[in-house]
Symmetry: C2
Subunit: 446 residues, 2 copies
């Protein structure tokens, strides 16, 4: 994936700033933090994800000869600066909230401390990597909360925004509690279970629907899942019942049927009756098509006997909120905290840690955002060191570990925050030390 | 970009269907068409884009040995089928609406005719490639219509959905009339002009705002664009005026300033006055931050003296409509038209062409969708052959040609369709032949 992690995949201003820093001899240590300014509407919490891909990016960070040569063709950069750039590597320290952890507004999820050029040049791709999976995991967890115990499969590759979006969405959804994906390459790369049935085109290419069902069953006798909405869903369910004995003679069980259009809550009831009356009580019903957490909740509350869902486009595009209001901001340079005061975009300055406190029942009570240097702050610190001097600290976490972490976190979530339709807010307190720091900086006009 | 065009970047069901076709000996010729079912809200037309990347994908289509080996580890596929898969290439014909062409609901934008396995296996990535750029180009053209004559730059890489999304969004926006991008790699790959200034962090890393301005100007004397909203925008504009003579002595002109927060329409007026009174009448004002076509229109209608805009997140995520309701459907197999009748998802069957008609003033009048085989349909045919037997037909088009095509198309657009805030619909007629075909199929229950 050379192009994906190309150092040149960045904004031009990162390079013009680096040239200025280089010319000025500014090489002091900077701390930047990535945070989300606001929890978006229709979300009660967010889930950190994408850290693994970030660490890989930082470990490999390097401008190739070809990239440097091309930069030389622009009017912007001196040969001396390009030579400097060719030697640039990421040698900083990184702290982060582990993947699969719930977090809230303004909390730093990634904190980078490095010579300013290194901490700056990685900004664009760092946001690009972490935002995507964090957004998708946060969306996917809502489907998992809406449909506990149901099989959930990511179907969204085709309408994801490109290849990487499809791959990372599959990973983030699995991290957030999905059972698998239709995305084969994601299965291979991340060891995620892959699922699939057939498309309408398969049915349509045959002259007869039953013939299509039977041929498919013969080709994949261990995984017979039949798509039954191409022409008439209930009629097709009856055809499935009629076909079943013929397949049973050859020891081919029909494992399930898939609905993909119409009023699926109603259709599922009709299909369930037909299957049950036909003796196919073990045959499951799977639904797909324009689904999201709201639709899952609606169908299940309507008593739809659906066993699993393929959630596609609205998941992988995070349709109701296709970006997070996130920023990667300079918090400290050369030992001094820094604060931006652009209207509506003020930041909490300094190098920070987040502490989480729990009530007696083990539910999250509130978080406290504090200066890293403050001592005696009660609570569980959320940011952990993941890189030291440009190298990964500790072993790579598996997706299984992250999934398990999130499962635990969702149990600790205040019940009101688990609601799909009603928003609830969580308190993030600002420590006394951090408040005093801001007051000091504001009164000094810094 | 090996992973990006991996054949395994597909849905599992494509492979299970292929195995069934293989087992059944179904190798007849199929025609599939990609179309958008509905023009989304807030769009009056769509723009075809992404065809070049599709042709590259199809020309290179191949399962690698490693991919085949991994497929063998799943429970789904026989060794014999995997061997068959390893030899599969795309050998079909492709017709498409050229990039930069305006199109409407239900019109086929890509038409693939190939042995059914080949036409089927490419579905997922074909949609994935074409949807993204078509969606972004269609969104970007609206900014170009809202702000004619203004400099428009794509700033959206950081919050695009991954690497490929950022690259393709830069390409699609440029195709649709943007002047450039901040995305350096997109500049290199697609020969798009790159733009950039500085970030707030650069200002904040200096102890003094003026010092930051001056050092930056010295480092990039030919392109001095200063970000002036880090602390107080109007105050910073006055600092720019005070700094200008000092830089002028060294022959360094201040080309522009950038606003990134606050009420930018109002601030721009204040900044313009300060700059003009300070003699900096040539210094341009550039605005960025949460912009889209609505905001551009609002600011320009309010008389904001802004010369250029950086449009970011809302463009590259197509925030108000992050997917198109598009489908790639089987229209014909083994010489017979096919029709899906799933509720709300019926298709116009058969192998089709689209004809465009114009009024006396050269404006688009309406389109006609017809069977390809129908003769004597008046109008300009929109679909052109782009691949024959798996190979590209003719030379690769340049982005410059596509941009020029779109410019012409936007001039031919009915004026009502150019409106940003008010929707207007365009008529797509169905030819008599196509209507008769549907009636025949429906009455025969096909």
């Amino acid at each position: 994936m050379k192009t994906q992690h190309a150092a040149l995949l960045t904004d031009l201003y990162q390079l013009t700033m680096l040239q200025a820093y280089h010319r000025e001899g500014m090489s002091g240590t900077a701390t930047f933090e990535l945070f989300v300014r606001k929890i978006p509407p229709n979300r009660n919490f967010l889930i950190a994800a994408g850290l693994e891909q970030l660490v890989e990016f930082l470990e490999d960070f390097e401008f190739s000869d070809e990239e440097c040569e091309w930069l030389g063709t622009l009017d912007y950069f001196t040969p001396e600066f390009i030579d400097h750039l060719s030697k640039l590597r990421f040698t900083g320290d990184v702290y982060a909230i582990p993947e699969g952890t719930v977090f809230f507004q303004n909390e730093p999820i990634v904190r980078v401390t490095a010579p300013i050029a290194e901490a700056q040049i990685i900004e664009t791709r760092l946001i690009n990597i972490v935002q995507l999976q964090t957004m998708i995991a946060s969306k996917a967890a809502r489907s998992a909360l809406a449909a506990p115990g149901k099989l959930l499969v990511d179907f969204g590759l085709r309408r994801a925004h490109g290849a990487e979006a499809g791959l990372m969405a599959a990973r983030a959804a699995y991290l957030a509690g999905f059972d698998g994906t239709s995305n084969v390459l994601a299965g291979k790369l991340f060891d995620i279970p892959v699922y699939g049935t057939m498309a309408h085109s398969y049915i349509m290419a045959h002259d007869d629907e039953v013939e299509a069902f039977e041929r498919f069953a013969e080709s994949l006798p261990g995984n017979v899942l039949l798509l039954i909405d191409t022409y008439d869903t209930l009629e097709a369910a009856r055809k499935v019942v009629a076909l079943a004995p013929r397949l049973a003679e050859r020891n081919i069980p029909i494992k399930g049927v898939r609905l993909d259009s119409g009023d699926m809550a109603e259709l599922a009831k009709g299909v369930r009756s037909i299957l049950d009356e036909g003796g196919l009580t073990e045959c499951s019903i799977f639904a797909s098509g324009d689904l999201d957490e709201h639709e899952l909740l609606r169908m299940l509350e309507a008593g739809a006997p659906i066993d699993g869902f393929g959630v596609g486009t609205r998941l992988t595009t995070s349709q109701d909120m296709p970006y997070l209001n996130c920023a990667y901001k300079l918090q400290e340079y050369a030992g001094r905290p820094r604060r931006k005061r652009s209207k509506g975009k003020e930041n909490w300055p300094g190098r920070k840690q987040v502490y989480r406190r729990y009530d007696d029942e083990g539910h999250m009570l509130h978080d406290v955002m504090a200066e890293e240097s403050e001592s005696q702050i009660e609570g569980e610190p959320l940011l952990r060191q993941v890189m030291a001097k440009g190298k990964r600290v500790g072993a790579q976490e598996t997706l299984a570990v992250m999934r398990e972490r999130l499962r635990g976190q969702l149990q600790q979530l205040p019940p009101a925050l688990k609601a799909i339709e009603d928003g609830a807010a969580y308190t993030v307190l600002i420590s006394d030390g951090l408040q005093r720091l801001v007051e000091r900086m504001d009164s000094a006009g810094l």
